[in-house]
């Protein structure tokens, strides 16, 4: 068999992979429609939200890991205080910040040290002090030593040790929540039997005005890098994760805004403090643990609880973020590899986890390889630029169709991007994405995979 045949075979395999991937995304989109519309109709009945907010019967704790977040943390805190759900304890965990974040918080919220003794159910870096606000008695700050692993998992575990409520929400320090976001999250939790976790929807806040924790506008960012991520997040949260609900729940919820039942988090041992993608891994861990122990459970995504978070605005910071995520996702995949096509784990083992590994984790790698193969095919005249343009058009039209499906879903339901121009801009962004940005992202993930494998060969964790 000559090398041209080999390359052609690889190319055909890649085409079939993309055909299956396209079918999977189409299934997710179709599966998400009834779920999102039903949620919209039910929650439009204001009585439910009034009932949840008025009585606020279930106390919950919000934990936010923070490292050098002086500029952004105040908006997050204010958005939580302005939430329509009031029965909340807020714990900020200062992960050894080197800027003036602690001084800022102490001054702004009249923090005083409290002689709190908390059992360290999960081992964390040393806790230096506990503080409580004199102004807001439900607001606490844990000051701890910086985690040597450089991520927020250790801080969240410290917050988990301090949590006294049956429910636990993680929110990032740069995330602003809408006033009803927590109530909507709770609604999904309460309206499903055996629900142990609910993931919120996270959209992009870059270039949107926030005043004292209140988001004044919701527009797509003007800059290209955050704008393309806004479209990606819209795709991922409005239809992607909603569609996953049909298949037993997504493998990954945003660390920026997710609710857990505290007991479940403690029983699985908390977050993996060495993993950058700790927020993705914890959900997979819960799936693994619950299925292994044959407990009935639901892990659901709710399309109508909105948190707005900052995303990298430069290519360099985007590369760094995706590098960490990809390595973290690989680590999570190998830790829970037992579930892969394992009948014992039900629909998660047979469909959801394999789809996650093959499409979400491996997807960018195959995408990178396909670009490489394309170039080789062009150079070897296996096909002409005419072929290349058609395949590019095929990819673009499919992604545009998906994106328009999402805009339609957004329009008939929660309508967060309601600007007329944004619909047209999404189509333009999808086109531009194909001319360099997707290739950049695929390269980043490919390099991250090599980086991960090389580190593992050297005996490192990630």
């Amino acid at each position: 068999m000559d090398y041209i045949s080999i390359i052609t075979i690889i190319f055909i395999i890649i085409i079939f992979y993309y055909a299956i991937l396209a079918a999977w995304y189409a299934v997710l989109l179709i599966a998400s429609f009834p779920m999102v519309i039903r949620t919209f109709r039910v929650t439009n009945f204001n009585n439910i939200m009034n009932f949840i907010n008025r009585d606020a019967l279930i106390p919950l704790t919000i934990v936010t890991p923070a490292f050098n977040e002086t500029k952004r943390i105040n908006n997050m805190i204010q958005s939580i205080f302005k939430s329509s759900y009031k029965n909340i304890d807020l714990i900020i965990v200062n992960d050894g910040s080197t800027d003036n974040m602690m001084e800022f918080l102490i001054k702004e919220y009249d923090l005083v040290k409290i002689p709190l003794v908390i059992k360290q159910n999960i081992e964390t870096s040393k806790i230096l002090n506990y503080y409580q606000s004199s102004q807001y008695p439900n607001f606490f700050v844990i000051d701890k030593e910086h985690s040597p692993y450089g991520n927020g998992a250790d801080s969240i575990n410290a917050g988990l040790n301090a949590c006294r409520t049956p429910l636990f929400i993680t929110v990032d320090a740069d995330t602003v929540l809408e006033p009803d976001a927590i109530s909507e999250l709770l609604f999904t939790f309460l309206s499903h039997t055996h629900c142990v976790s609910v993931g919120g929807s996270v959209y992009v806040i870059n270039e949107n005005k926030v005043v004292n924790g209140v988001l004044e506008e919701t527009k797509l960012p003007k800059k290209f890098v955050p704008a393309i991520q806004a479209v990606e997040y819209l795709r991922s949260f409005l239809y992607g994760r909603s569609g996953w609900n049909f298949f037993g729940g997504a493998m990954c919820f945003p660390g920026a805004f997710t609710l857990f039942e505290t007991q479940v988090l403690r029983e699985v041992g908390g977050y993996d403090k060495k993993n950058f993608a700790y927020d993705a891994e914890i959900v997979t861990k819960i799936h693994h643990w619950m299925r292994k122990n044959k407990y009935p459970y639901y892990l659901l995504h709710t399309p109508n609880a909105f948190g707005w978070t900052e995303v990298p605005s430069t290519l360099k910071s985007f590369w760094r973020q995706r590098n960490f995520w990809q390595r973290g996702m690989w680590k999570g995949t190998f830790l829970h590899g037992e579930m892969f096509f394992n009948l014992r784990y039900g629909i998660i083992g047979l469909i959801s986890f394999p789809a996650y590994v093959l499409f979400e984790v491996l997807g960018p790698i195959i995408e990178f390889i396909s670009y490489f193969i394309f170039i080789v095919c062009l150079l070897l005249n296996i096909f002409t630029p005419y072929y290349f343009v058609w395949f590019l058009l095929l990819a673009w039209s499919y992604i545009t169709l998906l994106s328009l499906g999402i805009i339609l879903l957004n329009q008939i339901t929660f309508n967060r991007y309601n600007n007329f121009g944004d619909s047209i801009r999404v189509v333009w962004l999808v086109f531009r994405e194909l001319l360099g940005f997707r290739q950049f992202r695929a390269t980043c993930c490919f390099v991250a995979t090599i980086h991960y494998l090389w580190n593992r060969l050297r005996g490192k964790y990630l």
Partner: protein, 355 residues
Amino acid sequence: MLELLNKLFHIAQIITIVQLVLVVICFLLIYLIKFIMIQTQKIKTRQLKAVEDLLYSNFYHQQVFSTKTAKKLKKYILFVLDRINEIEIRHSHSNELPAFLKHCSRQILKSRARILARRKRWFNKYIAAKCFQYGFDADDDPVIIRLIQDQNLLVSMNACFAAIKYSNPQIINSLIDFFYKSRRVQQSVFSKLIARNANTLLPILLQRLKVEADNYIKIFCYRLLCEIPPQEVISYTAKYDLLSSSADLRIAALYYVGHANNPLKNELIFSLACDPDWKIRAVVAKLLGTIHVEKSLTILNQLIKDSEWWVRINAANSLEQQGPEGFEILSKQDKEKDKYAYDSAQAVLTKHKDK
């Protein structure tokens, strides 16, 4: 191979063209749907306005609903519930309100609730529970109990509201039977609901404690009693349960006794300070922080030297709550005599110093 590739390319071309056409259709569909939604919303708003006018008209004129009107209102049950709630809030002191609510319950809500309670979808059962909050008959007790025992928390919570509002011993005891073995989060919700109707529910809870043999149910009842504002009376059952063989029951009874507003509780708590079970001693150490008498200080001074960490740290925290005398005892702990007591004292003193 190349032939296969060519075939794939032709298929790709066809799919691309179809997709491009669908893109255009989708674009037009978005704006068409937006237009239809606006028109539908206008029609719906008019219909709901008519329903709202019917309700307010009945409220102001105190009329019974005609069969036709009742049928129409049942069709918009969600909206009707919303509006009734709004009328309740706005006209809470109105003399017409009780009669209006009675009419609504009798003619619209009860009959609709009975039908919806039999449906499978949780949302229908939720609406049924909301309807029953405005009243139900004795015949509806089994339906209410079934809704309370529903695994969906929203349905269960709302049914609880209805049950507690029109409480009778049978229903409350059914609630206890169901919730004592349910998830912690369900128990938290139920105990909060109980606390709101403390006066009517207290006798039922105390009676249940008298006759109940199951320790777990008793533990749950004590937990509920701790949610109710402190009472002067301490159930005599608690005095026996403090000596039970079940540690969990003893702890629950101890917390209940500690919660009571009765000076006799002090002796009961003091008597358990030397209990062989460290968990009991830990709870005693914790409760002594709220009893500001000389004997508390004496006992805490002993408990801070206990062999168990939790007992020591609770004692240290309780000494802190005792004020200057407590601090004096903490400061006097000697590292040479008892390192562990000293460490526990320091854990509290060091943090308090900075405060």
